[in-house]
Symmetry: C2
Subunit: 243 residues, 2 copies
DNA sequence: GAGTGGTCTAGACCACCGC
DNA sequence: CGGTGGTCTAGACCACTCG
């Protein structure tokens, strides 16, 4: 129900109410929901407020409108599922695998480097270099090298990067990641990579490089990471929109 | 200027006017634009209408708001640039390369197949199988096999798939593609692939598989394509949002 | 305190759809 | 035709930011 005294905006309460209504009644995709005027009258609110709630649900891909006909429930979930920038740990959990990590190396880099470039840093800024072997269900999947600026992280210990680096940034440091740019190519493993990943000469690997940026309207780069994935155990899945 | 007699909505005219204002005055990212009340008064329209225009520009990533401070211009382009589902031709042009195509094979498949599964078809539906070698600046880049349902395309000729298949679907058939789901993995080329791509044994390749869906609220699958890319000449670039 | 965006109201007219 | 979403108005009060 809508509570006009609540600190939460009415349109937001209505959004939640509509979402709940859909899941509770188990409404199927393409079933109509009540009209905007019905919602307005039922809750004693303005139609414009109803529209704001519905607009948000439409842009979340939960509803769609048809002029002259009504508002309907979208095809399930699909539209929300546009693939998100996700960490290795999140990715593995989504695949119903248990992620784990072995830290190989932790260093500090000073002076010019490719990472300084990618992270848009000055020459005398310090960069952490963290090399981790990532496993799923205890099987090696990827060898990952993270570069991240010391001035944004402060002091870090091995403990803090033993699990999800994104989780550390977001939950412990309160940094919010907005977007990432990544490239994916195929290659053959180097001998060091072969050792850690337990693969043979001429086994192909996927090389993913990513730069992630903060949600601070300056788009500050927060990490540059290069990951080598075993091609026999990993495949990228991406959902994309057109236009 | 805003024309209230125009058939175009006022908010849309204002959107265009603001975009033009930004590019004409060459306003830098993070500069403020006039307040909502200023726009309303200046054009003799309601503030809610101004808000609708600005909301649209915000969701297009052109502007951002800051409560109590104002509305500002976003960091250039970046936010709009979330990578789009694009065809080989579009992709190559974006990389300033000239795409071309050699058709290797055109067939019709009947009976059960992996493509029938991916395209959600019945057993006795006919599927076109089109194999094309894709080149950029006359260098072979990818070997591409498209599966697409005959019942949605009708009769097709080699001429029609000599250039961009997406362009053919969209411009000639008036079909609108909404989204695609793709996977990317690394592999070694088969001997047939090696021949067409002019690569050697043990040269790695990228294998991309994609299913594309129409914008028809049923999300009808319109193509399943498997492409083999030369790893030395091609790399996927993807921009993604988080949360 | 003055100005900003965030929310909300109670109407209105329109174009479109299906019967 | 009646009902729908699409657009628009002319106000209002709020929370927030900044000088």
């Amino acid at each position: 129900m809508i509570n006009k005294q609540s600190k939460l905006p009415i349109y937001y309460q209505l959004e939640e109410a509509i979402k709940q209504e859909i899941s509770q009644k188990g409404l199927a995709p393409h079933s109509p929901i009540p009209s905007e005027r019905e919602y307005a009258e039922k809750h004693g609110i303005s139609r414009m407020t109803v529209r704001q709630a519905i607009n948000n649900l439409v842009s979340q891909g939960i509803l769609y409108r048809a002029r002259g006909r009504g508002t309907f429930i979208s095809e399930q979930k699909f539209e929300q599922d546009i693939s998100q920038l996700s960490s290795f740990s999140e990715d593995m959990r989504e695949r119903n695998l248990t992620p784990s990590t072995k830290i190989i190396k932790m260093d500090e880099l000073i002076g010019p480097s490719a990472a300084h470039d990618k992270l848009n840093l000055k020459i005398n800024d310090t960069v952490y270099e963290i090399v981790r072997l990532r496993l799923a269900n205890d099987q090696p999947i990827a060898l990952e090298t993270i570069f991240t600026p010391k001035k944004l992280l402060g002091a870090i210990t091995e403990k803090q990067v033993e699990t999800s680096f994104y989780q550390y940034l977001e939950n412990d440091l309160g940094l919010s990641i907005k977007r990432g740019f990544q490239s994916i190519e195929a290659s053959l493993a180097t001998s060091e990579e072969m050792t850690y990943l337990q693969i043979k000469k001429n086994d192909p690997v996927l090389v993913m490089q990513r730069t992630s940026f903060l949600d601070d309207h300056l788009g500050t780069p927060i990490e540059f990471v290069k990951s080598i994935y075993r091609a026999d155990r990993y495949k990228f899945n991406i959902e994309m929109n057109r236009s």
